[in-house]
Amino acid sequence: MNAANQMTAAEHTRASVSDCRRELARDYAVGLQRYLAERDDEPALARAHELGRKALAHGLGVLEMATIHSQAIVGALNGRLTSADKARLLDGLERFFMQALAPFEMAHRGFWEANVILHRLNDVLEGQAKRIAFALHDEAAQLLAAVHLSLADVASRAAPETARELQAARALLDQIEHRLRNLAHELRPPILDDLGLVPALEFLAESVSKRSGFRVTVEASIDHALPDIVETTLYRITQEALNNVAKHAKATHAGISVRQHTDRIVCSITDDGVGLNRTPAAAETRSRGLGLLEMQERAAALGGQFRLSGPDTPGTDVTIEIPLEP
């Protein structure tokens, strides 16, 4: 990442938005004047609609539109303050403004729709993970057990040397079984459905700790049962955060803390590793970035917030805050 280049790019974007904003403000003021002056006003209203579309496409926000509108009003009111027809003027201002905002309304509704779909998609993915986990854990494990038994059977009737080789094969089978069980747990720990978030996090902490060689502690205070989707989201984010710690942080300790408040739940994952700024390889940064984005989106899907410690603090601190229905 080149911070200097990024700054320049951001400044470029800002500069072109402000150029575009000036141009839009001018066109808007002209369009509004024309609308207020013309009797046949539909083309002027359609122009407002087009200006709104353009503003939306150039990344302007609703508040900027409000500013552009108020500035245009100042122009439009010039010399009109004494007019007897103030009500008509105000009505015209309102119509023109609403028309310019209509594209934002469409986009806004699209956002809500997408959010609902995102929720549903999350449910679908969790359902799939559950099914795959079950297939790995129960079905595949049963088949492996059957292979185990047949091998044992063959071994008991085989020459000693062959029996030793079969024994080695059975040891491999044990490893496969172990891996499958771990994989199934990572996909969708049955413990999350059976016992809830805290035992699932404790189990996760233990297995990450065993696998990756740093200590993971869990500190939780949860008074009431949480909605399934909140539990799943917190579990997944914690899982992803611990993966990041294992991959990049070179930490000796990671801490998971979950606290339920009356109106929200706060979960943070901290470590004493190298912190965010000091993971040099570009490939690492990329894969890490994707994980962060996913965590952020999972939290956002529940109206939650995702915070990350700054680049110059020691260690890393990932905090998620999700609002709870009272």
Binding site: E42, P43, L45, A46, H49, R53, L56, A57, D91, E94, R95, M98, Q99, A102, P103, E105, M106, A107, R109, G110, F111, E113
Partner: protein, 157 residues
């Protein structure tokens, strides 16, 4: 949906219902759409018809906006077509129905054009998907080589 499509039959059906007084449909305005001036005309007629239907100022804006989006779609993708606007009512509510029909190239996969950014290339949720979100009811039917009909309704609250 696509296989039952016939824009002429739909318009004929609409006319028939108007003439025979079936249902309570009354076709109030019909505008040929071929160029951007026609889009203005459709907006204007739509607003005029809807203003008789008890809509608020913001609903009138929404209706004009949706008409603009479907009319623009006709100009851009079919070249020409027709938009009819009628006041409608059922047992409990009054509303406005807008039918936009063209005999343009048609759309092979309707679900594709209803995806954000497909026809506008911007993904901002305007265009046909935007019109759908603004209205209470929205149907689109299309057949390759025959054309496309969008039928949408907004109920007065």
């Amino acid at each position: 949906m696509a296989s039952t499509f016939n824009p002429e039959a739909r318009l004929a059906d609409l006319n028939h219902r108007r003439e025979s007084g079936m249902a309570h449909n009354k076709c109030e305005a019909r505008v040929r759409i071929q160029c951007s001036d026609d889009i203005m005309a459709a907006r204007q007629r739509g607003r005029a018809v809807a203003s008789k239907g008890g809509f608020s100022n913001s609903d009138l804006t929404i209706i004009a906006t949706a008409i603009y989006e479907v009319a623009r779609n006709i100009v851009e993708h079919a070249g020409k077509g027709e938009i009819s606007i009628s006041l409608i009512k059922d047992a409990h509510k009054r509303g406005v129905e807008i039918v936009a029909a063209d005999r343009g190239p048609g759309i092979e996969d309707v679900s594709l054009v209803m995806r954000d950014g497909y026809s506008t290339g911007s993904g901002l949720g305007i265009g046909l998907p935007g019109a759908k979100r603004l209205m209470d009811e929205f149907e689109i039917a299309s057949e390759l080589g025959k054309g496309t009909t969008v039928r949408m309704k907004k109920w007065a609250t």
